[in-house]
């Protein structure tokens, strides 16, 4: 800024920019300046792109008229590019503009970031230490504070402005009144600095807080996601029997893995004879376990020969199955005796009854 760039410095910069030797750059500059001088001395003008044009002047005092290249002038004036000439109203002069500028740059506007001074500090106006109080007046005030009568007497001897100061200082600076007047400034500045430090510390962005908040929120989200997945993924959708049939075709129903879980009961019905009525109790024909490839429909198909009888399995196990569409694997299912619900895959009436029960069940749920 405001330096003087000499010929060697310019040549060195040019050499660095064009990746050529300093000697070449110096030679080029010398020849260029010679050429310009020669051209001007012949009374001709010369234009160099990016630099400007040199033309012979009219007077001996100003023999060269140089006009800078447009790009050069634009680059130099880039800081003021957003300004434009403004037509002023009548009667406006520079003094008025200066005054309006000073008004807009009021002290409170110049220092927008300074926080409000706390009330405890506001009790001590910052102007007090700067008031030019004569030394003898201050001494008198310090001596005479405990005795108001003497203070008024001494105050009458001093001038009017100092009288006000003498009266105000003991009221406003009670804790510091015994100290010298220079102690007022440290009190103000220390509290003010403390307050500034406090406000700065609390305004400062702490990346550790952001990291901790992010980590905690991640843990919470992760926990809920894990809980949701665990709760939802094992559940089997049994509401679309057709899909299940297609999958059940590919399942080896007689898989050995599940053989242990299947308990076969005697299919004979047990009749309990009471005194007047005969109550027939049907025992389940088997207990099967729900897996990811074994559903109510597959069980129905296996034990009854048709998938549509799954509704009876569901009805018989409604204590363990809350929702037939969402059954958890591992649930033990009792397969009811087909006689209990007149299940017969070869009887269309039986199949229709099952379908009707399915429809009823769906209607009830809605």
């Amino acid at each position: 800024m405001n330096k003087k760039i000499t010929f060697p410095q310019l040549a060195a910069k040019l050499a660095g920019l064009t990746s050529s030797s300093e000697q070449t750059a110096e030679e080029f500059l010398r020849e260029l300046l010679n050429l310009i001088s020669e051209t001007l001395s012949r009374g001709e003008s010369i234009t160099i792109k990016g630099l400007g044009s040199f033309a012979p002047g009219l007077s001996d005092d100003n023999p060269v008229i140089w006009s800078p290249d447009e790009s050069l002038a634009e680059a130099v004036n880039r800081p003021f590019a957003f300004f434009e000439p403004v037509v002023l109203a009548e009667g406006v002069n520079e003094e008025m503009l200066e005054r309006s500028y000073q008004d807009t740059m009021a002290p409170e506007d110049q220092l927008p970031d300074i926080p409000p001074i706390p009330k405890t500090v506001m009790a001590i106006p910052p102007e007090i230490p700067k008031i030019p109080v004569p030394e003898h007046a201050v001494e008198e005030s310090q001596e005479n504070v405990p005795e108001p009568m003497q203070a008024t007497e001494s105050a009458t001897e001093t001038e009017q402005p100092t009288e006000q100061v003498i009266e105000e200082i003991p009221e406003r600076t009670e804790p510091a009144s015994s100290e010298a007047e220079t102690d007022l400034e440290p009190i103000l500045t220390e509290e003010y600095q403390d307050y500034n430090e406090y406000s700065e510390n609390h305004k400062r962005f702490n990346p550790w807080w952001a990291f901790m908040i992010g980590l905690l929120s991640g843990i919470v989200i992760g926990y809920f996601t894990y809980y949701f997945i665990n709760d939802s993924t094992p559940v089997i959708n049994d509401s679309e029997p057709l899909d299940i049939i297609s999958t059940s075709d590919s399942i080896d129903i007689t898989a050995v893995a599940y053989a242990d879980t299947i308990v076969t009961y005697e299919t004979d019905t047990a009749e309990i004879h009471t005194s007047d009525t005969v109550i027939t109790e049907f025992k389940p024909i088997a207990i099967d376990t729900v897996t990811t490839s074994r559903y109510l429909t597959t069980m129905s198909r296996k034990y009854y020969g048709d998938y549509r009888f799954w509704i009876y399995i569901y009805l018989d196990n409604d204590s363990v199955i809350k929702n037939p569409n969402r059954i958890k694997p591992g649930t033990a299912i009792k397969i009811p005796d087909p006689k209990k619900y007149d299940i017969d895959a070869n009887d269309p009436k039986s199949v229709k009854r099952a379908e009707a029960r399915i429809a009823e069940s769906i209607a009830d749920k809605r």
């Binding site: 800024m1 405001n2 330096k3 003087k4 760039i5 000499t6 010929f7 310019l10 910069k13 040019l14 920019l17 064009t18 050529s20 070449t24 750059a25 030679e27 080029f28 500059l29 020849e31 300046l33 050429l35 001088s37 051209t39 001007l40 001395s41 012949r42 009374g43 003008s45 010369i46 234009t47 160099i48 792109k49 990016g50 630099l51 012979p56 001996d60 023999p63 060269v64 140089w66 800078p68 290249d69 790009s71 050069l72 002038a73 680059a75 130099v76 004036n77 800081p79 003021f80 300004f83 434009e84 000439p85 403004v86 037509v87 002023l88 009548e90 406006v92 002069n93 520079e94 503009l97």
Partner: protein, 93 residues
């Protein structure tokens, strides 16, 4: 003398390709621009000085319309020829 003629002349004097001369002229323009943008004075001995001068905001009267116009601040680059260049031009004339 236009830019092309200057390039050709310098290429002839220095015995270099015109592309090299164009690159050197462009480099000189960039160097000058950077220095003048930084408000540095470029002094070329025996030729003159390029001095950037800041002109403050001021009011100008438009004599044709009578209006007052607030002219924004600007930086003007002035060329001050050296005494050698002045003498050279004045002696030939």
């Amino acid at each position: 003398m236009d830019h092309k003629a200057v390039t050709g002349q310098l290429a002839k004097i220095l015995g270099r390709d015109s592309k090299d001369i164009t690159a050197l002229i462009d480099g000189l323009a960039t160097t000058m621009r950077d220095n003048l943008c930084d408000m540095n004075t470029v002094a070329l001995p025996g030729f003159g000085e390029f001095i950037p001068e800041k002109e403050d905001e001021h009011i100008q009267n438009d004599l044709s319309t009578g209006q007052q116009i607030l002219i924004p601040p600007s930086i003007n680059i002035k060329f001050s020829p050296s005494a050698i260049l002045k003498r050279k031009i004045n002696d030939r004339q």
